[in-house]
């Protein structure tokens, strides 16, 4: 066994003395290529970052101009119905309810009367007095019983 090992070692040494053919590999060119490629990689990262920033800037620039003066949702006609209060009841199914009822608009929000209407009113008051004016129909408010709800 030892003899065999010695012979093998001798063969190993003899083989080691054989030198493989020299390779035409240029380490300077390899280092240059490595530097170039890693620079290209970094450059690509920067290009992507700049492109992303440009897109974000473009989006931010376009956003106000798109919505300037143009409503995002159609306007609701809220001149007639107004939320006047929120009711809370004892029922577990209905903890709060919003009631919408017709209300009298304040003077500032009412549409102005036409000249013809004003003239007709004036004429009626002059001829028949204030009593000739029609009776205003104010809706009567019924008391709301929370227990019935």
């Amino acid at each position: 066994m030892q003899e065999n090992d010695a012979v093998n070692r001798e063969l190993e040494d003899a083989l080691r003395n054989l030198s493989p053919k020299t390779a035409k590999v240029d380490p300077i060119a390899a280092a240059f290529a490595a530097g170039q490629r890693s620079t290209l990689r970094k450059l690509r990262v920067w290009h992507s970052a700049v492109a992303a920033m440009l897109l974000v800037n473009l989006g931010l620039w376009c956003w106000p101009s798109l919505h300037n003066g143009v409503p995002l949702v159609p306007a609701l006609d809220t001149s007639r119905n107004r939320t006047i209060g929120v009711l809370s009841g004892p029922s577990p199914l209905m903890t709060s309810t919003s009631l919408s009822v017709p209300v009298m608009l304040p003077d500032s929000e009412r549409p102005p009367l036409s000249d013809q209407s004003l003239a007709a009113l004036e004429r009626t008051v002059l001829e028949r007095g204030v009593d000739a004016l029609p009776v205003a129909h104010v809706p009567t408010q019924r008391p709301v019983n929370l227990d019935k709800l």
Binding site: R16, L18, T22
Partner: protein
């Protein structure tokens, strides 16, 4: 930069062995290309590998196998490379073994055994490193190495054929 210099120097000492290893699959020109490309890849690594020499041999092996797969059938190519008359070693008169005889004896070995011999003798790698590169157990590598050495010895000790005039 100092780290790159150290890596380059380490690899430069083994360039011939690396090319010889790549030649187990490829012809001379392709083997040199593969080694050059692998060296570039090594220098591009942000963190240098723990064992750069073993890393290079493994990378060269993978690159050479990939190169074979892309071009032609691997086994057929290995066979043709083995049969090719490209000289693997520098012919020297002061060496006990003739370069051409050694090449012929190596070519008679199984490709895996030949790779183990190249890694151990000319790559100067330990059995554990060879086992990692070849993706085998250390014991298997040791057994195959001993058996391959035995075959080499038998092949090299064969008496020269007598040529008839």
């Amino acid at each position: 930069m100092g780290e790159h210099d150290r890596l380059a120097q380490l690899v430069m000492q083994r360039l011939a062995a690396l090319t010889l290893f790549a030649r187990q699959w490829l012809d001379a020109a392709s083997a040199e290309d593969v080694v050059q490309e692998t060296l570039t890849t090594l220098l591009m690594q942000r963190k240098s590998p723990d064992d750069p020499v073993a890393w290079m041999f493994r990378a060269v092996r993978n690159a050479a196998i990939d190169h074979c797969r892309t071009s032609a059938n691997r086994r057929r190519r290995e066979q043709s490379v083995a049969e090719a008359r490209g000289e693997w070693f520098e012919p020297r008169i002061d060496v006990a073994i003739d370069a051409r005889s050694a090449e012929q004896a190596l070519k008679q070995l199984d490709p895996t055994d030949r790779q183990i011999i190249v890694l151990r003798i000319w790559g100067d790698l330990g059995l554990a490193a060879i086992a990692r590169i070849m993706e085998m157990g250390t014991t298997t590598v040791h057994e195959r190495y001993s058996a391959a050495l035995e075959k080499l010895r038998t092949a090299l000790e064969k008496p020269c054929r007598k040529t008839t005039p």
